[in-house]
Amino acid sequence: MKYFLKKAGFMAFTVFAVCALTFFLMNVIPGGTAELILKHTLIGLEESATEEQLIQFSSRYNLDDPLYLQFFSWVKEAVLRGDMGTSYVYKKPVIYLLALRLPATVQLAGASMALAIVVGVSLGIYSALQENRISDHILRIITLFGVSMPGFWVALILILIFSLKLKLVPVSGYGNLENMLLPAAALSLHSIASIMRVTRTSMLETLGQEYIRFAKAKGLPVWKIISRHALKNAMLPVITVIGFQTGSLLGGAVVIEKIFAWPGIGGLLVDSISARDLPVVQGCVLAIVTMYLLVHFLVDMLYTHLDPRIRYG
């Protein structure tokens, strides 16, 4: 219990620090928050705002207060009332925007992760069992290239092949399963390859262990040896990697969401950064970091669950 409290404390601190970092970073970006937001909302990118507009806008959102005051009032509102502010651009509460957009990202990242785990682990096991045979080599070469290709390039190539040539799935959109297939595949490719490689190594390492030999000596059938004895042990390093992959998935989602016009939080974040929609940026970063930390926490839990040798007091 004490362990979890400590862990929760660390997580809260990290979230706070990341928010603070974002806030000050966003404020050192040149360009004048008020003017840019006006450009993105009322007057158009190339037009210039009037002095009057700027003053009106700045005073409405207290943009002239010292930074630390702005930040602390944000934190106060967020902590005390769960109010993360109102978007300058959308004129909606940030919470509301997050509630709108977060599910799409969670869906996309969740589907990609599930895909990455199922495909990556299966291929990794297969590859390990086929060690040094031709299918192992082919798989490993494919995944090597899989991790080495720029994500957006892969996504575009996938669209060209599966949407335009084969007409299997739509180019963009949101809502149906078929809309999700391509983005999820593109997003998970990198993770599939990483997970496969780790699974393979770890599986090989596990298969060389003495308890596997003993299991064989017990006369257990192959599938039982793999499922009961090898898999659980081999999964331990894989789980760590899955945790780290979450981060790269969330980062990659920014690009994939842009290409597929996926209404997720990544695209919202990028747009908000360029529009200086600070409350939304803060909200998105908060959500992303929290998700990341939560997944790591879950990974930790899973690890303890799988490995009885680790027990937290």
């Binding site: 030999r213 000596a217 659980k232």
Partner: protein, 313 residues
């Protein structure tokens, strides 16, 4: 009557462009009800013999020769048939019980999985196994089954693996270095366990060890191995009290009880075996002949010995 007959067994491991000759041309037989010991230094190839009987060596090992068990050649059995023998008719008691128990599975499961079939058969088997555990000086076996291997002491783990190996009542028990890495107290306990197995259960055993005390207590006949070859084979009492081969003599003198006189020199490279007797470089009695001609194994005084008999002159 011989229960298991090993004929001209050789094992090689490819290593880069070379091959390592782990075991060369070993032949022996194990009679029903007897305890047959194989002793030798680490690296003499004795463990490889034990593993090759059940075909548990890594896939890259090249095994030649015959191993007859109840009229079947184990080395050419189909995997499915082999599975019926492993753990049921011939079982392995692995060296390093710490490694042979799967760290992420509960002890109970690791015992239970030996029994295949329906639930009743399993229950029946478990009952027997629990009984056996009590017999083998394990207190509170039910509780033990709910623990994980890392929660047991070294001696307990050793007895647990013994129990797993014995619980299906195999016809032959292959014990591979059962006392390796145990503290003196646990070692003494192991001797008790094996004496019990031998006297009460009347098991046929192949005991592979470098622990001369254990071998002396338990074994009926003993084979001494050096550099992959059997150099001496005879009644245990004869081998250990009046050794004939100079290597056996050295081995016994190196024993702490006998004044810890170490054998000088090192085992020869197994990639390029030296000419002549493999032991001649370290042999006190070696002669010109020894460095030219490889000695054949010969009957001598009721036993077998591989030496030019220089030591006897």
């Amino acid at each position: 009557m011989s229960l298991l007959e090993v004929k001209d067994l050789s094992v090689e491991f490819p290593s880069g462009e070379n091959t390592v000759k782990a075991v060369s041309h070993v032949s022996f037989e194990i009679r029903e009800g007897e305890t047959f010991g194989i002793i030798g230094e680490s690296g003499s190839g004795k463990s490889v013999i034990g593993l090759s009987l059940l075909r548990l060596l890594p896939a890259n090992a090249k095994v030649s020769g015959r191993v007859f068990f109840q009229g079947q050649d184990l080395l050419s059995l189909k995997p499915s048939e082999l599975r019926k023998i492993r753990g049921k008719k011939i079982s392995l008691m692995p060296q390093n019980p710490a490694g042979a128990l799967n760290p992420v599975l509960k002890n109970g499961l690791q015992i239970e999985e030996v029994f295949e079939g329906n639930r009743d058969e399993k229950k029946e088997g478990m009952k027997k196994a629990l009984e056996l555990m009590k017999q083998l000086f394990l207190r509170d076996p039910e509780k033990l089954c709910t623990l994980y291997p890392h929660q047991l002491s070294g001696g307990m783990r050793q007895r647990l693996t013994a129990c797993i190996s014995l619980s299906f009542e195999p016809e032959i028990l292959v014990a591979d270095e059962p006392t390796k890495g145990l503290d003196p107290e646990a070692k003494a306990g192991a001797v008790d366990v094996f004496t019990k197995i031998k006297t009460e259960y009347k098991k046929t055993m192949l005991l592979i060890t470098h622990d001369l005390d254990l071998a002396f207590e338990v074994c009926d006949r003993i084979a001494v191995m050096y550099a992959g070859e059997i150099v001496e084979l005879d009644q245990a009492s004869k081998v250990l009290s009046t050794p004939l081969h100079p290597y056996t003599k050295g081995l016994i003198q190196a024993h702490p009880r006998n004044g810890l006189v170490p054998l000088s020199g090192q085992s020869p490279s197994r990639i390029k075996l030296p000419e002549g007797c493999l032991f001649h470089e370290r042999c006190r009695y070696s002669d010109v002949e020894c460095s030219i001609k490889h000695p054949e194994i010969k009957y001598y005084n009721g036993g077998l010995i591989r030496c030019h008999f220089l030591s006897l002159k």
